[in-house]
């Protein structure tokens, strides 16, 4: 039987039962991504779908609290009505991983520290989570943080749970900083520069004072894309200034107006450039100036690259490669380790994910500390056992 807790006490009871019965739990928001992460041993599923609803929204205070199982789309719709947003742009994985569109829960969004192209300017989920309530793997109800913008009372456990994939605690309630939506947006497209020069142009723009909020390069179409957001008058002016700044490169410039601009970045956010077709998918975070070096090294080493795209001015690389027993983890991680950064296997079949580290391996001392942090929340490894690491 799948426990479907309706409140925090139910969640605590479910975890205590699981502890007593020695049954590991897998936490599901909407369960759309059940087959992902490390391929772990089967576990009883704890569904949070019934723990839903926005419990506090004060637009003037820029704050919103929702139960962890609240559908993201419900929150986005509510914010839309007040011209506000979750500025970190949580991605929708349906294109990449299959499943229905718009099917994430807010707890899942926090658990994977989701973010989109605006990450470089606005931050990731971790930067917007003001506080939370949860039940730890010890079966204890714990709260941390608060609902105000500035808070340094005690350790910032929000940072720890963001991106912990449910391995530390089951979130029951999350409080976010929300932000006004920009009045409008435009995207400047520069075509024909080629990968290396295109990426250099992005870095130049990101070091300019024109407040470019997203910068991507799509090799399929050989275009560099630069997003500008804000009041109309400012967006237009900054676009013109950028065109002037980058004119010496000799690229053909074109502008996407608001609606096409939004659609463009949403496709990129959701991994569309690498989603279609066979193969394994990786997501790599590194210093922006290393993005191209990384891809070049892989090419030189003969990796069977099928598609790739650069976001975050070159600091985020999405890759699709032909399938292989180790999903090319060895080749990819050797380069990433030399440059600094981390590589996550996002899509691969179960057999591969059972043998290859999905998350980037850590040096021994860091891995040991990570394990001690896990044990501090979930000493018996009852939550999401094996999802992030083979040893917990």
């Amino acid at each position: 039987m799948t426990p479907s807790p309706r409140d925090e006490t139910d969640v605590r009871d479910a975890i205590r039962d699981a502890l007593a019965a020695e049954t590991p739990l897998a936490i599901r928001g909407h369960g759309s991504k059940a087959g992902l992460g490390r391929a772990a041993a089967p576990a009883q599923i704890l569904s949070l779908a019934a723990l839903s609803g926005v419990t506090l929204y004060e637009p003037e205070e820029l704050v919103l609290t929702a139960r962890a199982g609240t559908p993201l789309r419900e929150i986005v719709a509510l914010l839309d009505a007040h011209r506000q947003q979750l500025a970190f742009e949580p991605m929708d994985h349906a294109l990449l991983l299959g499943g229905a569109r718009d099917d994430a829960t807010i707890g899942g969004v926090v658990a994977v520290n989701a973010s989109g192209p605006r990450r470089i300017k606005a931050g990731a989920a971790r930067d917007h989570l003001l506080g939370f309530r949860c039940v730890t793997g010890r079966g204890e109800i714990v709260k941390s943080g608060g609902r105000v913008m500035k808070n340094v009372t005690g350790y910032d456990l929000s940072k720890l749970v963001a991106g912990s994939y449910g391995t530390l605690a089951v979130l029951t309630e999350t409080t976010f900083k929300v932000l006004p939506q920009a009045e409008t947006e435009q995207t400047l497209l520069l075509s024909g520069l080629g990968e290396e020069k295109g990426l250099a142009a992005l870095r130049k723009a990101s070091g300019s004072p024109y407040e470019v909020s997203s910068l991507a390069f799509d090799p399929r179409e050989n275009i560099a894309a630069l997003r500008l957001e804000g009041p109309e008058i400012s967006v237009v002016k900054r676009r013109d200034d950028l065109v002037a700044l980058l004119a010496p490169l000799g690229a053909a410039a074109q502008t996407l107006e608001a609606e096409s601009s939004r659609a463009f970045w949403m496709r990129l956010r959701d991994g569309e450039p690498v989603a279609a077709g066979e193969g394994v998918v990786w997501r790599i975070s590194l210093a922006p100036s290393d993005g191209f070096t990384f891809v070049e090294s892989l090419r030189r080493n003969g990796a069977p690259l099928l598609a790739h795209v650069y976001d975050w001015a070159g600091g985020l690389v999405w890759l699709r490669l032909e399938a292989a027993p180790d999903a090319h983890a060895g080749a990819i991680r050797a380069v990433v380790d030399r440059l600094g950064g981390h590589a996550t296997l996002i899509r691969a079949d179960e057999a591969t994910r059972a043998t290859v580290d999905v998350f980037h391996p850590q040096p021994a001392a860091l891995a040991a500390l990570t394990r001690r942090v896990k044990d501090a929340f979930d000493p018996l490894h009852i939550l999401e056992r094996g999802r992030m690491r083979a040893d917990f």
């Binding site: 204890e140 109800i141 500035k150 210093a287």
Partner: protein, 497 residues
Amino acid sequence: MPLTMPLPEPAILSRRDEIVARLREILPPAHVIADETARRAYECDALAMYRALPLVVALPETVAEVSAIMALAAELNVKIVPRGAGTSLSGGALPLEDGILLGMAKFNRILEVDFENRCARVQPGVQNLAITRAVEHAGFYYAPDPSSQIACTIGGNVGENAGGVHCLKYGLTTNNILGLEIVLMGGEVLRLGGKHLDSEMYDLLGLMTGSEGLLGVVTEVTVRLLQKPLTARGLLLPFPSVEAGARCVGAIIARGIIPGGLEMMDQATIGAVESFQPCGYPLNAGAIVIVELDGTPAEVDHLVAVVEGIARAEGAMETRVSQSEAERLRFWAGRKNAFPAVSCIGPDYLCMDGTIPRRRLPDVLTRMDRLAKACGLRVANVFHAGDGNLHPLILYDASKDGDIERAEQLGADILRLCVEVGGVLTGEHGVGVEKRDLMGEMFDETDLSQQQRVKCAFDPQHRLNPGKVFPTLHRCAELGAMHVQSGKLPFPNLPRF
């Protein structure tokens, strides 16, 4: 709030000479300060009411030295207190009589500036403002700008997750650092993050930020650099009352505008500032709101007009808009001098630091005033109005009998009030020793135990900066114990820590 620190261990005190000698094997002898007069310089931080003479002061210069000191401390079972510039207002760097004070001042180099990736690698003892000074020639700056920025260090900023007037729009320290090198108790050197975004596995970089020197010693910081906005303009908006000023602040944000700075001062502070160093604030105002709008000139002009309109609608007595950089700085001069100015109207002050939901501002100020009157003290208010971070300055006279105690009592009452209306005990200065015993106002025993378990993962013997942040120290073994059901422990074969 009678403050008790862990009692010094006689066994350690009696081995002082040995500890000094062992430190001198690691560091050049001159970098180990054992002489009492020289140690006095370190006996307190900016929360000067609490003092303790450190056992010995160690001033390492390299990561290897820090690592060796930590390993030595582990071997000899000695405590360590890290210290940057000692500007902490919560007693975070208060020494221990049986502990080594680890002064990080010699870590003062900027190791690398990387404009392409918009970041810089700096040592923890580098002053906050020195980072901006090193990169401004190329149009960049480091955004978090605590008022103490000429003095405080980036290591201390990480320790306290420091913020400043820019953080409403640009975030706190935690949103502006990319990487850390840390040394754990025991001497292991770890790197967290780097020049890339977001960590894999747990975000220990985020956890370290604001951990008040309790988890590890920071030996290197990679900070994000931002481009200076093309222009910035200030608005000086006097209002007849704090309530009207607070309404204006709310209305600006409700309109979807996030200013680069949004600060407020009450009448007591305005008076103090004007008699300290006149900068033209209207003395008849009940409150002054200062708004800074930054970005491209076209955008700023547009927003200035919108904000002026909002201010008039909310009853501003006048609206002054800066017409030059000099004028913008003049608007800020009073705000930046508020703390020293207030110290001229009363011999001593205690600076509190709570955050509240912004719309509770008028209510909280009224109740704060009532509390102050009841104990016969005065309070001057300056606040980061945009994010509800209050800095009530409680004026008292340390030479008067009982004044310190009354000031502390009032401070505690004010912080309790902040929590009661949905706020928190500290917005940027940290818990330290000052608010340690109030942690129970915000967290229950279970919440605090979970935080201390995190501490145990880093420092199981509680030897790094103990006595700060947590009202009671629990042994890690006791915190590690599991809830046993029906007399049996689940998963008996799994190792426990």
